[in-house]
Symmetry: D2
Subunit: 363 residues, 4 copies
C-alpha cells in the first residue's frame, strides 16, 4: 500500500528520490484565497538546503522550487498546488559499490525486503533529501497558520550529551537564526558545533534532541479517540528519518511523577482559560488546551560513518564488510529542524481545518 | 472531523462511552476464514477489566462481549465484525458536581472546547473505558497474528522511579501473568505494588513505562514516507489516554550516542539476515528488519487524585477548587498493557495486509 | 479490502447480514448538538420494513432500533453514534438447498469467488436487509439536512413499461404516502400495483425506475475532479443492490440533444442565481448550482423468481437447475425508495460538511 | 475538502489547469517491478490530444510527458510516480470577457460559488484538459492490467440520434482506430462525423454515448456494500466532465424487464463458470463474475456554443447575454474515449490490488 500522503483535509503527497529527476509535493485541500508565491516556499527550503555551513554535507544543490499549479493571480484557488525541485548535483558514483551490501543503520535492507529492488543511489527515496517534499507542504501550512497568528518553531536542545539551557519561549525563533546548530542557547551552541566537527573529523557522527513548539493554537484541536493531536504529531515526527522517540510536555519524565506533580491547575486569564504549569505540553485528552504545544524528538546519529562496518552481501548471502563513502552530515539535527517545523505545521493546519478554524474551502 | 477509526486495511471503528448504553467496535477488513468466537475476545477484555486486584478501581463490570456479525460457522466471513459490551455498573452520581469544573490533567476542558457540550459522566468518551473498543479490535488482530506465528506482548518496566531489571525476551509473556503489576521482574514488581498502594492511601497516583514487543514479524512492514511502521506505532500508542511519550529501540538514549554505537551490524543467520544488536528496535527506514520490534511508552500518573486542586468554573468564568470523588486506578500501567498490545497488534496486522503477508480477502 | 464505510466527513460504517444476530451502523462525524432519538431512526426504518403491504415479502420483522452511543441528554455529542437492529424472524430453512448452487442474478457466486466461503442464508450480507444500515445512517443525515431546510425525497416513476406522469416537485413527498407503490401519480400507481401482483402470481418479478430529489441544497457542493457531487451520488445509488443505472437531470436523453437544447440559461431571481430550465439536474462541473438535484436509478427485477433456472453446482463443477423458495418482493422499487433517500442524504450531508455549510464539530 | 485523488490502493492524485504552468499526476501505490517509460504514457496522451482531426479543437498542444520519479532502471520501484505535461499553447485572451458571466452548461458559476474566486482562463481546473491527469494514471493502470491479460476498450456507440450497430466484442479495439469518431461500426461512423461537422458549422454541438468494456477480468472484484465494483465505475465515469448518466449491462432497459428476462443463467465452460447471457454486464452483487464488464455513459453536448445565450453578471447581479469564443470540440465523445478507458482502468487496477490479484508491493 502507498504511504506518501499525509493529512486528511490538508493532504500533502510527496514524490521523488535523492538521485532521480526531481522531488516535489502536491497539496490538495489548501483553502482558496491564501497569498502564495515561490519565495514563500524557497525561504523554507533554504533552511534545509545542504552546503550552507561546515557542519553540513557539501552536496551543492540550489533546491530551486517551481510552482506548477494551484495559484492564480498570486493566491491559491482551491485546486491542488504542485511544486517541484529538480535534482542538479546528484553524484551516484559512490553508491554502485553499495548495491548489494546494506549499510548498517540505514533502510537499504528494509527497502529491498519490501520492494524486491531498490534505488540504491544516495539512499533513493529513503534519503533525507525526500524531506524537500515535507518542507514544501510545510511552507504552505505555515503561511496558513500565519493568517491565524499561529507560529511553529523547532530548535535543537541537545547534541550528544550537551544540553541547552532553557530560553524564553518567545525568543527562541529569533535566537536560532544566529548559529548553524539552530540552538537558542548560544553557549551550548558553540560546544555543540565543536563536538560535531570533532566527530566529523573522526568519521563518526552524533545524535541529539529537537524540540518543536506551536504558539497560539486554539483549544479544541484533535480528533479522539485515534486521531488525537498528540498522536498525529507523534506520527509525523516519528516518520522523519532518524527519529527514534517523541514526547509531549513532561514526556518520559512523567513516568516518575505523581498525579499532584503532573496535573496542571487551571485559572482564568485575560486570554481565557489557562494552566499555571504546562506539564501536559498543551495537549489534554488528545486535544489542544490553548497552552503552547511542546513536542520533542530524539534524533539518532547519522548512520553514514566512514569507519568499516560489518554487513552482508544480500546476493551471495554471506557476511562481508563495507566502508561508506559519499557526502554526509555528521549530525542532522540542525537541518532537521525545518523538517520538524514542516511536519508539525502540516498536522496543525490539518486539524485546524478538521475543527473548523480554517476553511474548508476559503481562508 | 471524525477520528474513531484506526487502520487502512484492517479498519477498526470504536464507539461508546463510560456511562452510556454500550461500548464496542466494528472491524472491517478482517480476511475471511479466521476461526473466531466470543471467548477469544473475552479473554483479552478480562485482562483490562476493572476490579481484579487491590491496585485497580473497584467498579464492578463483567464486560461481557457479544459478537453481532461477521462470523459464520465459527469463522470470519469477510464481512464486518461488530462486537459490543453493555455497561452495567455505571454510577454517575459523583460526576454531576464536576459538570462545569474541568478536572486538572483530564480532557474535560478540551472536549468541551471542541464540541460545546460534553458527556461529563465518568469522563464520557474520554474515559479509559473506551479502550474496550481497542481491545476488541486487538483481540481479532492477535488471532490473525497467531496464524503467522507473530506475538505481541506488553509489560511494565518502570513505576515511578522503580525500574525493572531486564528479563529474557522470550520469558516475558509468561512471567507477567504472575503478578498484578504485569512486570516480568518479580522483585521489582513487589516494590512497584507497594509504591502504588502507598500512593493510593495518600489519594495520590503515579506514572510508569510500558514496553511492547512484537516477536517474529517479517522484514518489510511499513509504508514510507509517511505511514512508516514506527510512525504508525507511535501514533497508536500516543493515542492511548495518559501516554506522553513513545520511543523505539534505543529511543531517547540515541540522542547521546555516536553513529558507531548506534548502528546495528548485519550478519547471516540460519533464519536469514539479522543484526548483532538491536538499537534500532526492529525498525529501519520506517520498515521492520526482522528483529524484535521494541516500543516503549511513558504513562503519566492518573490525573484523578483526591487532594483539592485549583480549577475554573467554565460557566461563571472564575477560579475555583475541586475535590475529585469516584473510583479510580492509582496507577493505570498494569491495566494499560492489554491496550498497548491491542494498539500495536492492530498496527502490525494492518501492515501485514498492506504488505501482502496476510489476505487481503482470505487468511 | 474493506468497503463497508461511506463518506469522508460524515462516515457511516454498516454491519450485519440477513440471518445473523443483528444489523446496524456506526456514524462517525455527526456534529454535536443535533436533537436525536430512536423515534427519528425508527420512522425511516418503518418505511423499508417488510410485511407492510401485499406487494412486499411477508417476513415478519419489527426492525426495532436501539441507539447504543453518541447521544447525551437528547442531543448528539460529537462521538460515534452506534445503532442496532436485532434479527427476529430469520428462517434459514429454505437456503440450505442453495448452498452450492448460485442463484442467477444474485451475488451468491461472486461472494463465493471473493471470500472462498459465503453466508448463504438469506443472501448473507448480499441481502437487501443490509440496507437497514444505510437507513440508520440516512435517518441521521436527514435530521441534519432538516436543520438547513434541505429535503430528500425518492419516488417511483416507472414499473415495467408503466410510466408515471410528472407531478409538481413540491407535492411529491406527500403524494407518495398515499399508495404502497410510492408513486406520486395515483393513476399510474394503481396500474403498477396491478402489474406487480400479476407478476407475483406468476412467480415472476419486474423492475422500475426510482427518482431521488434534493430540494434547497446550496450552490457549491462537490469536490472536483474526482469527488464531484454527481459522481458521489452515482456511486451511492449504484451501490444499492439491484441498481443497474444512474442518471442526473436529462441523463441518457442528453446524448441526443444539441448544446443549445441542453444548456440551462441563467437569470437573477429573488433567491439568487437560478436557471430557467434544469437539464443539468442541479449539478454543473460536478458541483450543485442551487437548483433541485435530480437523480434517477434503474432498478432491475428481483432475481428471486420461482420458475426453474439453469445454474451450476460449484462443488461438483457441473450444470444443474434450481427452484428458489423463500419470501421475496416481486418488485423492490417501493421498498428501495427510503434506501435511495438515505444514500443521497448521506452524500449531501457529507458534502455540506466538506464545504463548510454544516459543522464540522457543532451544528 | 480535497477531491483530487482517486483510488484506495492505486492512488492517483492529479493537478493543473487549462492555462496554468503544467498539468500532471502522482501515482502512489503502483507495485514495484512494472516496466514503464515515457512512451507508454505518451501513447495514451496522444489519443486525447487536441488538433488531430477536423472534429476536434485546433488548440496546438504536443502534450509531451516527462516522468519525474518512481522509475528506476526502466521499472517502477514502488515509490510514487510523478509525471507532468507543461502547457504550451494556452491562449487566455478570449476568456477575460467571461470573467463575471458564467457560461450556461459550464461549471463557471459553481466553481465561483465554491471557492469565491475562479481561474476563468479556459475553464481553469474545470477544463477537459485536466483529464491529462486521468490519462497519465490510466496509462500506468493499463500497463499493469496487461500483465494480467486484462484489456479496457472504450468506443462511441451513439452520436445524437445515430446509433452504431453491434460489433463483435473482440474486434472493437482494432476497428475504432480506423476513424476519428472512434466508432467500431464504420457506416455509422461516417454519418456521425457528418453530423458533428454539420453542427460545428452551425456553432452548435451534440452529445452521445460511450461504452467501456473490460475483458478478462477475474471474478470477485469489488468491495460490498459501499465500494462495489459497479459503484466505483459509476463514480469514475460520472466524474468525467459532461457525463450525465452511467449504466451497467442492461442498464436502464432492465427497468422494463421481468426477472426471467433479466437473470443470466450459469453454465460450466472450459474457462470456468460463465453465464449464457450478460444482462448483468459482468457484475453481480457489486462484484465481477468473470464475464466482460460493460459500462455505458451518456455524454452531453459540449456547452461551449457560439450562439448568444442568456446569463447573469455575477458582480452586478443582473441579467445579461454572452457569446462564447475560443476553440472547442463540437462533440467530445471521440476524445473522451481514452479518458473513459483511463477512468475504468484505474478502478479495475485498484480493485485487483484490493482483492489480492496484483501486488500490493510487487507485480
Amino acid at each position: 500500500m502507498s504511504g506518501n500522503t499525509t493529512g486528511k483535509m490538508f493532504k500533502v503527497t510527496t514524490f521523488g528520490s535523492s538521485h532521480g529527476t526531481a522531488l516535489g509535493a502536491v497539496i490538495d485541500g489548501c483553502p482558496a484565497g491564501l497569498e502564495l508565491n515561490e519565495e514563500d516556499i524557497q525561504a523554507e527550503l533554504n533552511k534545509r538546503r545542504p552546503g550552507t555551513s561546515k557542519i553540513t554535507t557539501p552536496r551543492g544543490e540550489t533546491d530551486q522550487v517551481q510552482i506548477l499549479s494551484g495559484v492564480f493571480q498570486g493566491r491559491t484557488d482551491g485546486t491542488p498546488i504542485a511544486a517541484v525541485v529538480y535534482n542538479r548535483d546528484a553524484d551516484s558514483s559512490a553508491y554502485e559499490a553499495l548495491k548489494n551490501t546494506p549499510r548498517p543503520g540505514h533502510g537499504d535492507y528494509t527497502w529491498k525486503a519490501r520492494y524486491g529492488s531498490y534505488d540504491y543511489r544516495g539512499g533513493g527515496r529513503g534519503s533525507g533529501r525526500v524531506t524537500i517534499g515535507h518542507v514544501i507542504g510545510g511552507a504552505v501550512a505555515k503561511k496558513l497558520l500565519k493568517t491565524r497568528g499561529i507560529e511553529v518553531v523547532a530548535h535543537v536542545t541537545q547534541i550528544g550529551k550537551i544540553k541547552a539551557n532553557k530560553v524564553n519561549i518567545n525568543q527562541i525563533a529569533s535566537k536560532i537564526q544566529e548559529n548553524p546548530v539552530r540552538c537558542a542557547d548560544h553557549v551550548a551552541a558553540s560546544s555543540m558545533e565543536e563536538l560535531i566537527l570533532d566527530l566529523k573529523s573522526q568519521g563518526n557522527s552524533v545524535g541529539g534532541i529537537v524540540e518543536t513548539l506551536v504558539l497560539n493554537a486554539p483549544a479544541g484541536l484533535g480528533d479522539p479517540v485515534f486521531d488525537k493531536l498528540d498522536a498525529d504529531i507523534a506520527k509525523a515526527l516519528m516518520a522523519i528519518g532518524a527519529v527514534k522517540g517523541v514526547e509531549i510536555g513532561a514526556g518520559f519524565e512523567s513516568a516518575e511523577l505523581t498525579g499532584y506533580e503532573m496535573n496542571d491547575e487551571y485559572y482564568v486569564s485575560e486570554e481565557g482559560i489557562r494552566t499555571t504549569t504546562n506539564q501536559a505540553g498543551g495537549i489534554l485528552g488528545g486535544m489542544s488546551n490553548g497552552m503552547p504545544i511542546v513536542a520533542r524528538m530524539a534524533v539518532k546519529p547519522t548512520p553514514s560513518i566512514s569507519r568499516p562496518q560489518k554487513t552482508v552481501d544480500i546476493e551471495k548471502m554471506e557476511d562481508t564488510e563495507i566502508e561508506i563513502k559519499g557526502r554526509h552530515d555528521p549530525c542532522i539535527c540542525p537541518r532537521v529542524t525545518p523538517v520538524a517545523e514542516a511536519a508539525v505545521a502540516m498536522v496543525v493546519v490539518d486539524h485546524l481545518i478538521r475543527a473548523g478554524f480554517i476553511g474548508p474551502t476559503k481562508i
